[in-house]
Amino acid sequence: MLEIRSARKTFYAGQPDEKVALDNLDLTLQTGEFGVVIGSNGAGKSTMLNAVSGALSLDSGAILINGDDVTATPVHKRATRIARVFQDPMLGTAASMTVAENMLLAELRSTKRTLARGLNAQRLANYKERLSVLGLGLENRLDTKVELLSGGQRQSLSLIMAVGGSPDLLLLDEHTAALDPRTADLVMQATVRAVDSLKLTTLMVTHNMQHAVDFGHRVIMLDAGKVKLQIGGEEKANVTVAKLVDHFAVKTDAMMLGA
């Protein structure tokens, strides 16, 4: 379970370009719940995700994961419970290392790293199996350096790395935004399969309204650093793209998304 309690974050405080990115934001995500976050640019989506992952520290407020206060925990310690897929395929993987080494790093996310040999036969077999689910042939390219993979392959790898080890919380930061529509679809399908079968508590940020309509248990709309609207349950099942777009405050945003 994820709880964000009156989170507040101000950038450039006291300067002319002061910006309140999170304005006493409250949000609770139940264990196993899949929340989809939407909102116009500057609404605070990325700030919220960065605050949850620990990349950004809050001015005030608290973040709890399964009841434990992690507000002051640094990124690398929070990583034992949180997995994240970034928007930029380059960010989520180590480019100069091989596919297998990247899988190893992800596997060791929540355990203590030892002086034992990293890539043993048992692990390699396991990675092969897990990657074959994607159907991209990555299972036969374990020794390929990640920099040689396409953006879609890298993002798919990031996803498999993130969902392995069943993290307490999965953060997806517009993880299909940089991909072409077909690849984006493939990655999204793989995401939904993994989240459903592992019952992962997931927070996904997206600008794709169709994705927000089709996937997840609850749509969370942010505006000016606050939760403006939440649509869950029955209502979520009946929501349409047009209805969601209507809720966008800024006219230009609504026009762009509707087009």
């Binding site: 992952s53 994240r84 970034f86 790093l105 060791l108 034992a116």
Partner: protein, 310 residues
């Protein structure tokens, strides 16, 4: 002309054993340059200060009658601390790695002088690790080749093993993509500090081995060592490549051996020693410039915002 070639060749061959022993000792500095530059993507100049630091520590300890192997271990430990300081300066105060290295190297110059109390210290005739070489008469280059070679091989094997362990893989990930490493639960601070510390420890070890080899310690002994090391590293990478952990680790050793043989050949051919640094600098510059020179004519130099080569 024939006479010039034959005389050059004769004096070069006579120098081969001495040069080989030197290059095996200096291979540790090249290793200490390779780890930050390649593995950690932390371009670091500390080696220029850590190398004489190791030399000075070793010199003063041997002069005091300490066991020469212990003197090397002490040098290694001090080098490690120096490297940790550079990494800490960079991480804590967000100072560019190169500047952090220059700061550390400048401060180390004073520290080295303080340690020795004077700029030059002779330990000629003292017991050294080279006297322990089996089967050979002490004092000859062969004994140095054997001892430095054994230590080098051991370090190579240990690092080749370490970089493939879970901890070693994590360390390499920090160099490859720090944000990703952090998101995978790896502490960028710990890895960077330990990694740069390790590198400087090797540079200091090299200084200690050199002092025992040449019989004196000098605060100025590190002058230009970084550029020499970079030149050696580039030669090594050109020869054995850097595609795998094994090759990347082998490059400093191979590079050091070839580079110092080339230097020796130049000197044997009558090149004045003062010109050596200019020649080395031009060589490193040429190696770094090569990729832009290969580019299509008319493309005209590097774009202003391209990443700098390190």
């Amino acid at each position: 002309m024939m006479e010039f070639i034959s005389s050059t060749f004769t004096s070069y061959v006579a120098l081969v054993p001495v040069t080989l022993s030197q290059s095996l000792i200096l291979a540790f500095v090249v290793l200490g340059i390779m780890i930050p530059f390649r593995t950690l993507h932390f371009p670091d100049l500390t080696s220029e200060g850590a190398y004489p630091l190791g030399g000075c520590i070793c010199g003063i300890l041997i002069a005091a009658g300490v066991n020469p192997a212990l003197a090397i271990v002490a040098a290694l430990a001090c080098g490690f601390i120096a490297g940790c300081c550079t990494a800490f300066i960079h991480l804590r105060f967000r100072i560019h790695t190169l500047l952090a290295g220059i700061l550390m190297m400048t401060m180390l110059y004073s520290i080295n002088l303080r340690i020795m109390g004077k700029s030059n210290l002779s330990i000629f005739g003292s017991d050294t690790v080279y006297n322990w070489a089996p089967f050979v008469t002490p004092g000859f280059p062969v004994s140095k080749i054997i001892i430095a070679g054994i230590i080098g091989a051991a370090v190579f094997l240990i690092l080749n093993w370490f970089f493939k362990t879970e901890k070693g893989t994590a360390l390499r990930a920090v160099g490859s993509n720090p944000a990703m490493a952090e998101a995978q639960g790896i502490s960028v601070w710990v890895s960077t500090i330990v990694g740069v510390g390790l590198a400087s420890a090797f540079s200091a070890t090299s200084g200690a081995l050199m002092v025992q080899s040449q019989g004196f310690a000098d605060v100025n002994m590190g002058l230009g060592i970084l550029i020499n090391g970079l030149a050696a590293l580039m030669i090594g990478e050109a020869v054995v490549g850097k595609k795998s952990v094994f090759r990347q680790l082998l490059a400093p050793f191979v590079g050091a051996i070839i580079y110092y043989q080339l230097v020796s050949l130049c000197l044997a051919a009558g090149m004045p020693p003062p010109d050596l640094k200019l020649a080395t600098g031009l060589f490193v510059l040429a190696m770094l410039a090569l990729p832009t020179l290969k580019r299509r004519r008319g493309a005209g130099g590097a774009p202003a915002h391209e990443k700098f080569r390190e």
